[in-house]
Symmetry: C2
């Protein structure tokens, strides 16, 4: 019998402008079909670029924010923990740190991150995990801001 987990409605992510949405996993004979983002979906704005970031076990990719680009993350292979930190002046959630586990099994969902919010991520599966990002603008050099993973600017310690 085919199992269908449907794409849910968007949920506020605890930081202003951050959204999550459970994504459909449609089990078929040869392997499941995994939804991510549709042009008619509630969290879709515009298409800029789709790319992938492979993350090896224990590896940390952090910290970064974008001046203009909105990120849409999903993890179709493995598990990735994404940490967000809101340091935006005037944001009602300024100072908030949040953790999101993304991937399969059990946590297949979309995470939308607006411009200005710091993010970093690490692999939480035994094998490498694959993060897909369907961003609303194509990558352009200098549009992102980076600081080291151990920067004291962000109150989080990566346990590697």
């Amino acid at each position: 019998m085919d199992e269908v987990k449907k794409t849910g409605s968007a949920q506020a992510g605890g930081i202003e402008g951050v959204w999550t949405q459970n994504l459909a996993e449609i089990d078929t004979d040869g392997g499941p079909v995994l939804h991510m983002l549709r042009a008619d979906g509630s969290l879709f704005r515009q298409f800029g670029e789709i790319y992938f970031s492979l993350v090896r076990p224990g590896a940390v990719k952090a910290w970064k924010y974008h001046r203009l680009q909105t990120q849409n993350f999903a993890v179709p292979h493995g598990l990735i923990e994404v940490i967000l930190f809101d340091d935006r002046e005037g944001s009602p959630s300024k100072g908030t740190l949040k953790s999101f586990l993304l991937g399969r099994p059990g946590n297949y969902r979309l995470l939308q991150i607006p411009p200005g919010v710091w993010y970093g991520f690490t692999c939480r599966s035994e094998d490498s995990a694959l993060l897909a990002n369907c961003a609303d603008l194509p990558h352009s050099p200098g549009e992102d801001v980076r600081i080291p993973a151990d920067s004291p600017k962000i109150p989080y310690s990566w346990k590697v």
Copy 2:
């Protein structure tokens, strides 16, 4: 030292309207960044939907064509062989069958399939492979046409 394989130019795929393009793999410390499709890329038309199809070892997903939708395939995890068959009336490549190996390592590239061309695929890696499809229209029921993997209509035998 970081290794960068750049996204190449579009190459004709041997069937009218089929294109391939080598995709950038940018090696970084925690794992490579893998390009797929940009809004300013030469093969981009419009965004409809991005979804994934996981294919278990030995599994076959075939055959299908779309009446309206153009497919953009890339395989960021594992290896998948895609078979195409052109049965379109009036196509200069009518009767042509082509095979494309997609995935990593060694074959990370985009495959663009226009409406009307039959396609099917199978996993060619030891572990499950993940096909990403960034189509130009969102999925709508009845827009695709399906026949069984062993249909005599297509001169190809899946060796499972």
